[in-house]
Symmetry: C3
Subunit: 243 residues, 3 copies
Amino acid sequence: MKGRILVRLPNANIIDVTHDVSVYWPAEAGFWLKRAYHYFPAGTLHLAIVDPGVGTSRGIVAVKVPGHTFLAPDNGLLAPIVASQPAAVIHRVEIDAVIQKFGLSHPSATFHGRDIFAPLGAEIASGRATLADLGPQVRDIVPSPVADPVESGGHVTGVIIAIDHFGNLISNIDERLIRSLSNPVVQIGEHRLRLRRTYGDAAVGELLALVNSFGVVEIAQTQGSAAAALRMSRGQSIRVSQS
Amino acid sequence: MKGRILVRLPNANIIDVTHDVSVYWPAEAGFWLKRAYHYFPAGTLHLAIVDPGVGTSRGIVAVKVPGHTFLAPDNGLLAPIVASQPAAVIHRVEIDAVIQKFGLSHPSATFHGRDIFAPLGAEIASGRATLADLGPQVRDIVPSPVADPVESGGHVTGVIIAIDHFGNLISNIDERLIRSLSNPVVQIGEHRLRLRRTYGDAAVGELLALVNSFGVVEIAQTQGSAAAALRMSRGQSIRVSQS
Amino acid sequence: MKGRILVRLPNANIIDVTHDVSVYWPAEAGFWLKRAYHYFPAGTLHLAIVDPGVGTSRGIVAVKVPGHTFLAPDNGLLAPIVASQPAAVIHRVEIDAVIQKFGLSHPSATFHGRDIFAPLGAEIASGRATLADLGPQVRDIVPSPVADPVESGGHVTGVIIAIDHFGNLISNIDERLIRSLSNPVVQIGEHRLRLRRTYGDAAVGELLALVNSFGVVEIAQTQGSAAAALRMSRGQSIRVSQS
């Protein structure tokens, strides 16, 4: 992918945000992208490719929000960004047309990242192509494979949507959703945890919950891996309630 | 390595192609390099270092094909590129001489990547050195540690030469070798698999075979890891025959 | 982190030295940094963040040695560099003041790498800030969590401080400490190993000891992983003595 980007945009500054995401479940990549993109400079083009449907009839979408442009399979990956940005403009990529228009000769059926996303990204990042050149504006994209958290009866229920390098279990429950709880308790499996401020506020080896640096509820183990300690993975249910 | 490159070539654009290859078997690195190098811009210098013989009497070779230059241990890593490019020019690096000529003071016996390959690569990429400055042109390099696929009696037999991030088992059988088979069947271990076009053409969890985006026969598991499912690794035999 | 660096320093050349270090034990990161920094160009700003105390009262320090500047949590990570460089100048970062001065609005309690280190690093690397702008010069930093090797009765005793991509067990025993031994033998667990020059000097699968390319005693297994073969990890004791 990087070679094909550099061929079309020799001075591209290419940053790998992460390769350590679930490879067949676009929800985790979508989470990180939505929570991280705004730290990048205005004008950044973000390629986000978790693509189990590559080569099938799944679509490709381009999304523009102020300062940032995104290109991804239309499989729910970009849904969190669109949902959070009323100004988001969505274009459906006309794949056969762009293959012709931009000379993407003979794309493979199994690696559109290299054969379609990379060269299209270079065309957009270089300013040679606009989203209108890729295809028509549309109103909807495929929704996220993960439902938004549910608020009911004083509880907020969500799921673990990401696991980081440290084994922290990261949920999709935004701190805004629990702000009304004066004394929140986080329940995951058999564990009930009070919110702390940072990892060092618990003893080494202790489980804790906190609102993390991406603004969502997280389960951690001080100087350890919560994912390993709890043997839990992505999709695990998590609930926050008044104690 | 990157530090030493930047010291000699401050504006180097350094791309990591992969670190996820077999570390003592140059065949996998050679496979990826041969199948990926041509996606990079003309003028690229490729360093490829899988080097179990570092510090012994093994040699170093530089290879030039139109648009691309390669520097690697002479252990078979570059053999696939040389075999596929009639125009390839090979130079044997005179190690003691280049240490003097390019000021590579006191190279270690265990990390030539940093102490020899990186600075030499910077000298070549900068245009300050040509292959002739490294050593004499030669006709042969050490052959690949993996034999080419064998065609016999309507079968083509090869080996798994690479495993990717998804656990796909990638063979050295190029699609050209099976083009004459009207109805090819791939056999690996006890499994006999028909060729599909892409991963999504099989059910989730199903094993499949396909010609992948690098033009070779691959065994995959839809939304899973074929390497884990089959407990197979590099070197495993694979055969394609008429069904 | 890279996004926040690029926002303040768009032409930053960002190199990842490693992410494969112990995440809660600053000693390994400190080892690699001290043994690698001098390979980078003069003027490099090194960010080194292994930070189990993030968000607690732990401090942040900036260190300047000729040609290189370092920014890290004050948890012993930079102690090896300071100990090895008599010319090292240390500044204690006044965290609340720099948050104001450099507009680091609302840093999180759990990811100072992104919220404090990255933007401060960009300010220093750009030349807009000097260490004096971060806080007062001080004389001491927190010492390393690992004691220096001990020389006693003809023995030198140290610990395994790093494990590399190959599974090599890398000690903190510098070759200077064993130079007086005419016939050194390395003892780790039940194993007694003579020093070799390089990996290929032992048979495939054999354990060996050598002085590695970073100038310290290392235990390796030829074409294998010493860490896996010996089931040993960081902190393991190792001793070198006259045979």
